[in-house]
């Protein structure tokens, strides 16, 4: 999801800002500023649209704030533009006073175990993208014809996936989950989801609200092993007690101190049938606790493995210094190292963790840094910069047509219209070609 925002001074030129909330701040702060956003897809909002779980619609309310900003006279959305392919960062820097990259983290941390390529092994990002209607994942076709799914990872993404797999259909069918996913889930035979993590209960990455939702999910009992909690009873005062519901036919479980060694194939050698886990023990405590091997392993039978072990940013342009070890753009407080007028924000700047509020606050920080540089003269406003005019001309010459914010709103209306017929807030368009056809109709 490539999103870059351009920020323009009417007298001087343009700045590119990458985060929509960032842009919220700048047009208000200075009236001689114009913001241009460049986004690869025809639709805006990134992970708020494609990452937030369908049963968390309130979290998506922030879209209203984004939309308000987008309606500002000095803000322009340029969808369907792939920065790094259709246009280079250098070309943007020539046309604008400042360019801000905040295209997030599109890649996945690799499991690096044998069997990772078997059919039935998915990255969390692809699985979430599938039920959230991301065009890149529409042909995923996960086979839910198995009884047990193992999710590696215990963060909020893992919890979301587990919850979607086991939620009663009555609840899901009123959300903006795609029809395709709904139909697959309706035919699902999955009855048990196990979330496997390297360390112990005190190191779990998921937050309390999501853990609560898991334990309270109708029709599903929580499958937690008492031995996992030996010696840390005091620390568990805040966690709700799992309620045993004998009539619950489904189970959502957590397994601690296990790390994947190998994904095991079935008889045909092509499809996943199980996973071999190394048993760990914890050394140290709190955030710094380390999981060390004990030498023992155990095998779990399962028909699907979903890797939810973290995202990773990818470099999109060789002109931008990238730190491959931390998988972020090299920067100091958002100022990209070694080059003036280039900034980064959000996950690309700090790494791919945190909720919307975290990234939003980070955007405001980036905006403040830019404003500081403007006032200090570090950004030279005396040079005239042509901005979107030049970029649009270049794109046109290359056969690229943009999608404006009002054209996105046509896509939006169409999705809402289709959703109404199905009793859902929207039915997302899955196909970029279809989005463009609606946008330019």
């Amino acid at each position: 999801m490539s999103t870059s925002y351009s920020f323009e001074f009417q007298q001087y030129g343009k700045l590119t800002i990458v985060h929509s909330v960032n842009a919220c701040n700048l047009p208000q702060a200075r009236h001689d500023i114009v913001v241009d956003i460049y986004e690869r897809l025809p639709v805006p909002f990134g992970l708020v649209r494609f990452g937030v779980a369908p049963d968390h619609p309130e979290v998506k309310n922030v879209i209203n704030t984004f939309t308000q900003t987008a309606h500002s006279e000095r803000f322009y959305f340029h969808g369907n533009v792939n920065v790094g392919m259709d246009i280079s960062v250098e070309e943007l820097k020539e046309a604008y006073h400042a360019v801000v990259l905040s295209y997030g983290a599109e890649g996945n941390r690799s499991l690096a175990v044998s069997g990772e390529d078997l059919i039935g092994v998915f990255s969390a990002r692809d699985f979430v993208g599938w039920y959230n209607g991301h065009p890149s994942n529409k042909e995923l076709h996960p086979d839910l014809n198995c009884e047990t799914v193992v999710i590696l990872g215990q963060g909020n993404v893992a919890l979301d996936i587990a919850r979607v797999l086991l939620s009663p259909l009555d609840m899901l069918k009123k959300t903006d989950i795609t029809q395709r996913a709904l139909q697959t889930l309706a035919a699902s035979r999955v009855r048990r989801v196990l979330m496997v993590g390297r360390r112990g209960p005190l190191q779990i990455a998921g937050t309390i609200k999501e853990v609560r939702e898991m334990i309270n999910l109708p029709g599903t009992k929580a499958d937690l092993l008492p031995v996992d909690y030996d010696g840390i009873a005091e620390a568990l005062n805040d966690l709700p007690r799992p309620r045993k519901r004998l009539t619950d036919k489904q189970a959502m479980g957590i397994r601690f101190l296990r790390s994947p060694v190998k994904v095991l194939p079935g008889a045909d050698g092509k499809r996943v049938a199980g996973i071999r886990l190394a048993v760990k023990k914890l050394e140290g405590s709190g955030e710094g606790a380390q999981a060390i091997p004990t030498g023992h392993t155990e095998d779990l039978e399962c028909g699907m493995v979903i890797c939810s072990i973290g995202y990773k940013s990818l470099p999109i342009d060789p002109a931008v210094p990238f730190d491959p070890r931390r998988a972020i753009v090299q920067n100091n407080l958002g100022r990209v190292q070694g080059t003036a007028g280039l900034y980064c924000s959000g996950w690309l700047k700090r790494g791919p963790t945190g909720v919307i509020a975290t990234t939003m606050n980070d955007s405001f920080d980036t905006a403040r840094i830019i404003l500081n540089d403007l006032e200090a003269g570090t950004l030279d406003m005396s040079i005239h910069k042509p901005g979107a005019q030049d970029i649009t001309a270049l794109l046109k010459a290359r056969g690229v047509r943009e999608v404006s914010f009002s054209e996105w709103e046509k896509i939006n209306s169409e999705e809402v219209r289709r959703g109404e017929a199905l009793g859902k807030p929207r039915e997302k368009l899955l196909d970029v070609e279809e989005m463009l056809a609606v946008a330019w109709s």
């Binding site: 909330v21 208000q28 049963d55 309606h71 309390i208 509020a357």
Partner: protein, 165 residues
């Protein structure tokens, strides 16, 4: 989630956002509150004077109405706080995090689990922190000072980059 939805109350007000005068629908969910929800148009409700202190120490004084939440006040009176109320009062974020004086905090009703879960994720959390969308104005809050939290992570970032150089 179905649990929250059944306790919801849908309200609409005009002129919520002074940026471009758009109509804004706000979903106000109070799952465990025993405080009555009052319509702000009632003239018999008391006015409550509030002082908001932002991160730079600047003070803004506004008047709210008994029964409104602090989120309502910030929006209606256009108090300038970055990104305040992103989830529009549905207990899905922590952007309306505010810090209260001890004496005020102690008189407030205890927090429900839902609010605590979200507040846990807020920056600059203190012992007298609450989410503004869950605090309803009462007459005894007249003259109350409310602080916008500092962003602790700024300092951590500075430390991080310094140690890497």
């Amino acid at each position: 989630m179905a649990v929250r939805a059944c306790a919801g109350l849908l309200r609409s007000s005009s002129g919520f956002c002074s940026l471009n005068q758009t109509f804004r629908f706000q979903l106000n969910i109070r799952t465990f509150s025993t405080q009555p929800v009052c319509h702000s148009r009632s003239s018999s409700q008391s006015k409550v004077l509030l002082h908001f202190v932002n991160q730079n120490g600047m003070k803004t004084s506004v008047t709210g109405t008994e029964g409104e939440s602090l989120l309502d006040v910030v929006v209606k009176k256009n108090v300038q706080i970055d990104g305040f109320g992103a989830c529009e009062g549905t207990l899905s974020c922590s952007t309306c995090h505010l810090i209260f004086e001890d004496s005020m905090y102690d008189r407030m009703e205890t927090m429900a689990d839902d609010e605590m879960d979200m507040l846990d994720l807020a920056y600059g959390l203190t012992k007298t922190s609450r989410l503004g969308c869950q605090v309803t104005l009462q007459p005894w809050m007249d003259g109350m000072t409310v602080r916008v939290p500092q962003e602790v992570k700024d300092q951590r970032d500075v430390q991080e980059t310094k140690s890497k150089q």
